[in-house]
Amino acid sequence: MTAYLASLMVFAGINVLLALGLNVVWGLGGMINLGLAGFFALGAYASALLSLRLGWPIPLACLAAVGIAAALGTVLAAVTARLKGDYLALVTLGFAQVIQLIAANERWLSNGTDGISGVPGPWRSVLSPMQFDLLCMALCWGLVVVCWAALTRLALSPFARVLRAMREDEMVAAVAGKRVLWFKIRAFALGTGVSGLAGSVYVHFNGYIAPDSLDVLLTLNVVLALTLGGTGRMAGAVIGALLLEALTEGSRFMGDVVPALSPVQVASLREAVIGGVLILVLRLRPQGLLPEASRPMNLEPNR
């Protein structure tokens, strides 16, 4: 059972990283990025290929994964510079779908729908499964703490203040002499880099990645986590992700409570519950549990 809990904690940590990444872009910068799954995928595949096919040591592969995700985040930011609101949502969602398409079709690169298996994990072959899970948990949460601390400091910096100003009213920020595009790009690169990190951690822990792992549900989960916890504050992202993990694990036992349901039905119930909770939260407490101190958080840039 301990091994199971440990692996649960690892996945929780990965979700926290994803929530933190989204928070930089959306919470601070007000730019909706529904393409999270795509950057997660980039990080995971890059890390897998570099460590498995080219034999790079894991930490190096991880760094490269972050870099690749950030680089593509930069490109996406530049290309979508003038888009806002639901337009941006549409395009970023489309981006994630294209990444999934590429992963499924470019067999020479990604092994197609079979996925890449046997990805090395830190000392996986010498540790027992239990020890490996515990080690991964420690490493993962170590990374989470580092990112959390760094991003919290960032949230207090002048950089973040500019981002928030842009979020509220881009025109004013531009008039105040800030190069809006450059700020946007940096925020995106940072956020997507962290998402790539999450992907890298996932693939080294799980040992396997496939296009099917990249679901719209993944993105929705992270959006829910941020909505639950409150966008803007990093602590909100963490709390939201953990709460969401608890909700998902709790709903797993739904299958036990109603034994007449088939596995497919249990799975669909659980997904529907997540969607339902998101809608409820949006209705009842859209600012989340830990809203930004300065003003009640809402999702629209307006004044």
């Binding site: 197609g112 079979d114 996925g115 298996s117 596995p263």
Partner: protein, 394 residues
């Protein structure tokens, strides 16, 4: 775990457990990792039924020297991602010594590293050549003939039936490329030609462009290397495109569900090939009884043999770990011992100090050092009026 819906599902199969841990000793834990849903969903449930029945049979006869067998089930959904999640659970949480019954080659390929790294034996029914070529250090045993053997026999059948120009439409799998290579070799040796292959994503809902390109090459035979869902679409669209030549498909794709869901004119004349179980074996008769059918599928026959061989290996070595099974498996599955068709029968002999050679429902169960079976029989059918009719068996 929150990452994917499939991951969540596979791990969520916590409810249906069967534990017979009555003996003071640690039970022998076996994981049944089968496709209960998805493209292989036709076979998973009966495979699980046979695995559990085989374990019951042994337990009721006293177990393995008093030790009971405990079976835990997980659904791969015929999807490598869910398969990996299921394997994690079976290995990390349920602590199984052996995983039995992975069906789709992609699932087996994804799950295999987890098994050999944790020193858990993997018994699979998947056919892709690449599986036994992995660095599994002896932790993979498969009772399904590998792709090379299958394609050799299938293509020979085509040559015997006067095929000259074969085009392959293949679902994206680990064995698609290897299959075509072998088909080309055998066609050439037989005076014909393999004129091309298109590999498609099985999740597509329409294959019109692929079919157009294939038919543009003017084949007289199409090899449809598909799974059941895409086979149904291919057959319908081939009919619409006006194709009247021969079609050959693996038996696991031409399932009764597919055949009954399509109009008879779409499937008439379709050839299928499949490895055949050992019809004369007492073990085969037992599987028939368990499933209550005259024609059990080859996979259910294979997993019956898996469980029995595991039991014999544990009896031989005296220990239940995956490593113990790994070291003893070939001492009970082949060699100069007395031929037995069931674990209970074999354990009596082992207790008396005699060697055994298990021969099961799926065939002689003799394995190469890489884990492949050495030989087996094949059957060829033609569909008529929505039903397969046996053409030949050898």
């Amino acid at each position: 775990m929150v990452i994917t819906r499939r991951t969540a599902l596979a791990v969520g199969l916590a409810a249906p457990f069967i534990r017979f841990a009555r003996a003071a000793d640690e039970p022998l834990r076996i994981g049944a990792l089968c496709p209960l849903t998805g493209a292989g969903g036709q076979y998973g449930p009966s495979m699980v039924k046979v695995i559990q029945a085989a374990a019951d049979e042994i337990n009721q006869a006293g177990g393995i020297g008093g030790r009971q067998i405990a079976v835990t089930v997980a659904d791969t959904q015929t999807n490598p991602d869910a398969g990996v999640a299921g394997a994690h659970k079976l290995i990390d949480v349920d602590r199984v010594s052996a995983v039995v019954g992975t069906w789709a080659s992609a699932v087996t390929t994804a799950v295999a590293p987890l098994c050999w790294e944790a020193k858990v034996m993997l018994f699979t029914v998947s056919g892709a050549d690449s599986i036994t070529k992995l660095p599994h250090q002896g932790y993979i045993i498969r009772t399904q003939p590998n792709t090379r053997l299958q394609m050799t026999r299938a293509t020979q059948f085509l040559i015997d039936n006067k095929a000259k120009r074969v085009f392959a439409l293949a679902a994206q799998t680990p064995f698609a490329v290897d299959s075509y290579t072998r088909i080309s070799e055998v066609m050439k040796a037989g005076g014909g030609e393999a004129i091309g292959q298109i590999i498609y994503d099985p999740k597509q809902t329409s294959f019109r462009s692929e079919i157009d390109r294939a038919l543009g090459e003017k084949p007289d035979t199409l090899f449809l290397n598909a799974y059941a869902p895409d086979l149904a679409v291919l057959l319908r669209e081939l009919y619409q495109a006006g194709y009247d030549g021969h079609r050959l498909t693996p038996g696991y794709a031409a399932t009764p569900t597919v055949l009954s869901s399509l109009q008879p004119e779409l499937t008439s004349g379709l050839w299928s090939f499949a490895p055949s179980p050992d019809l004369d074996s007492p073990a085969y008769a037992t599987v028939r009884k368990i499933l209550g059918t005259q024609n059990p599928d080859p996979y259910s026959c294979q997993v019956y043999d898996h469980v029995n061989m595991i039991a014999l290996a544990v009896a031989k070595s005296g220990q239940t770990t995956g490593m113990a099974i790994h070291d003893s498996i070939r001492k009970v599955s082949q060699g100069s011992g007395r031929e037995v068709h069931g674990a209970t029968e074999g354990m009596k002999l082992l207790a008396a100090g005699t060697g055994v050679n298990y021969s099961g429902a799926s065939g002689p169960c003799d394995f190469t050092p890489e884990g492949d079976i050495i030989s087996c029989k094949f059957r060829f059918d033609e569909v008529e009026g929505g039903q397969p009719k046996l053409l030949s068996l050898s």
